[in-house]
Amino acid sequence: MSEVGFNGGSLSGGYLADATGAGEHQGLAIVLFTLFVSVTLAITAWAGRRRSSSVEFFAGGRLFTPMENGLAIAGDYMSAASFLGISGLIALFGYDGLLYSVGFFVAWLVVLMLVAELVRNCGRYTLADVLSARMRQRPVRIAAGTSSVVVSILYLVAQMVGASSLVGLLLGGHGAARTWTVIGVGALMVFYVSFGGMRATTWIQIVKTVLLIGGTITLTVMVLVRFHGNPNSLLHAAAANSGHGDAFLGPGLKYGGSWTSKLDFISLGLALVLGTAGLPHILSRFYTVPTARSARRSVVWAIGLIGAFYLMTIVLGFGAAAVVGSDTVRSSNEAGNTAVPLLAEILGGGAGTTGGTVLFAVVGAVAFATILAVVAGITLASSASVAHDLYATLRRRATADAAKEEGEMEEDEVRVARFAAVGIGAAAIGISLFAQDQNIAFLVGLAFAVAASANLPGLLYSLFWRRFTTRGAVWAIYGGLVPALVLVILSPVFSGRPDALFPGVDFHLFPLENPGLVSIPLGFLAGWLGTVLSPEDADAGKYAETEVRSLTGAGAA
């Protein structure tokens, strides 16, 4: 989930040629990829045999246990770039990389305390269910559906560019191979989602979480054993081999420069901690369990797994600095994405040895499995938004007088969702191919910032603010979404820098790379303003219903 610093553009396919004989890596890695893909396809085929009611398709039947759902939530959240990207940042920048682990983890308290149970009680399949519960359906659903799809696509593109980089890294592939990887990943995720729905997606997440946690534990134990279980000697060696000495363990190596870079970091920190609670694919996971209490317990499971995982990425990051050395990591990949594979190779016995080759390939396969699972989760959430929020709303007006059977409507939604997955997959493939050589850190930071600016204010207001109105909800969503997108277009990420999306021109007016610091308060402000300026008062009866339902579970789907 956290591709921060996962720099797609600077990954060089030539890495393997420098490091070891590429052939062995490739062979083994391809066998492992194929194995994982076969397992996931089997899961999809098995899940696809079921009758496709909408509860089955969008919520996997709602009868997952808290432990299963907790594993799946963790799977949705921990992406390859958390695994490779954060450890890489720590290997390069020491303490400043560690700040990411903390932000991504602390965010879960917002989800646990303010969102999970109440969202489970108030909604059926999507974020828009909750936002529109006490409002006029049409405008709020369209707004919430749109922002969910925008967040999801940004996120999806980041993941797919990550996959293409990973293949470049593992298989030494260039242009064509990476293009085909993006297309292959896109096709697979569309297949998982449109044939397997939520049930297949959930089981794929569970398998992936087990693999990822297993791989991470193995590497962490090997690092700790190498340093005789003494964290102090690990830190000491990391500082010594980083080339920065003691400064490596303190803040400032990455974000210590100008005030803009410091503000940028605070902005990112804010987006990370508030964004998680607005991510559509995380919210939709709560509908796969029967009750709010199970939703709470799934989050507790997820927090346990995610916390352990991020703690281990810290060990891996410092371990890579200590064992591999920051300079070696940097020369292999400027963004540090190869730190963990390099570490695995040395821990396994070094380049050219069997152990090294096997561990390297395993790490690559786990990272690839991770990406596949994450993209499936996001695609499902966004196709649910398209079908259940956008299509159903537009369709409902068209057939309002026909008194269309509710059941028929639901079948329609599932059918539309299957096609929407194809459309979203195609869009994501297209954008990913265009953005293939770009830095993807901004896409993830942006996805989080948009989620925090557009989704979170409306969600919190509608759950907790008695006076919140339809206009407030619509303004909160667009008032966060539009500034977030505009500020990114005006930021140095888009223009004015050599590594920008459009390096040739310079129209950057906004100094920060991450819009969160400005756009999140704007989202909250717009929601408040829209409510205050609303011509109508809030419906007290509907708020009573939302509040009572959210806390008691009465009438929950």
Partner: protein
């Protein structure tokens, strides 16, 4: 894994480290109703439009429940824990982030061996997150779940619509 037969959600408690003993038996398996088509079981097959015009009765019930002492108690317990806890950890997290950018020297101060203030604070963020998670789950389980479930049942009987949406 087929759970269509209405497995009690608590059945997995054996492997669940967050299991509760106090709340055992609390969850009457109200989720065993077939999930397949809740919409079709809407009373008298009332279409959506009727629900909106006929909302007066339901609104009245919900308003009354919202005003009831039992519900006020549940809400006060929830908010009394969640709001201060969220405020506290957000402030603590923001302090941590701002300190790294505004007071790097303080953060780089050594505590023990190679461990400095920044590293200790980072690990402390992990620790407080785990701790708050445990405290929140425990508070909800012991102080809120039973009262909320009672309300849910009384509402279900009054509105006759356990599954409205």
């Amino acid at each position: 894994m087929d759970k269509q037969d209405g497995v009690d959600p608590g059945a997995l408690r054996m492997n669940d480290p967050w299991q509760d003993t106090a709340g055992a038996g609390l969850w009457i398996p109200d989720q065993t109703a077939p999930e397949a088509g809740p919409e079709r079981t809407r009373p008298e097959g009332a279409p959506r439009q009727d629900l909106e015009t006929g909302a007066v009765d339901r609104s009245a019930v919900y308003l009354e429940v919202q005003d009831s002492a039992a519900f006020q108690e549940v809400r006060a317990r929830y908010r009394g824990f969640a709001f201060p806890a969220v405020a506290a950890f957000l402030v603590w997290y923001l302090l941590y982030v701002v300190a790294a950018t505004a007071a790097p020297d303080l953060m780089a101060h050594h505590v023990a061996g190679d461990l400095n203030v920044a590293m200790v604070a980072g690990l402390a963020q992990f620790a407080t997150t785990f701790l708050l998670t445990w405290a929140y789950a425990r508070h909800a389980r012991l102080r809120r779940d039973r009262a909320a479930l009672d309300l849910r049942w009384s509402l279900a009987t009054r509105t006759g619509q356990e599954r409205v949406r």
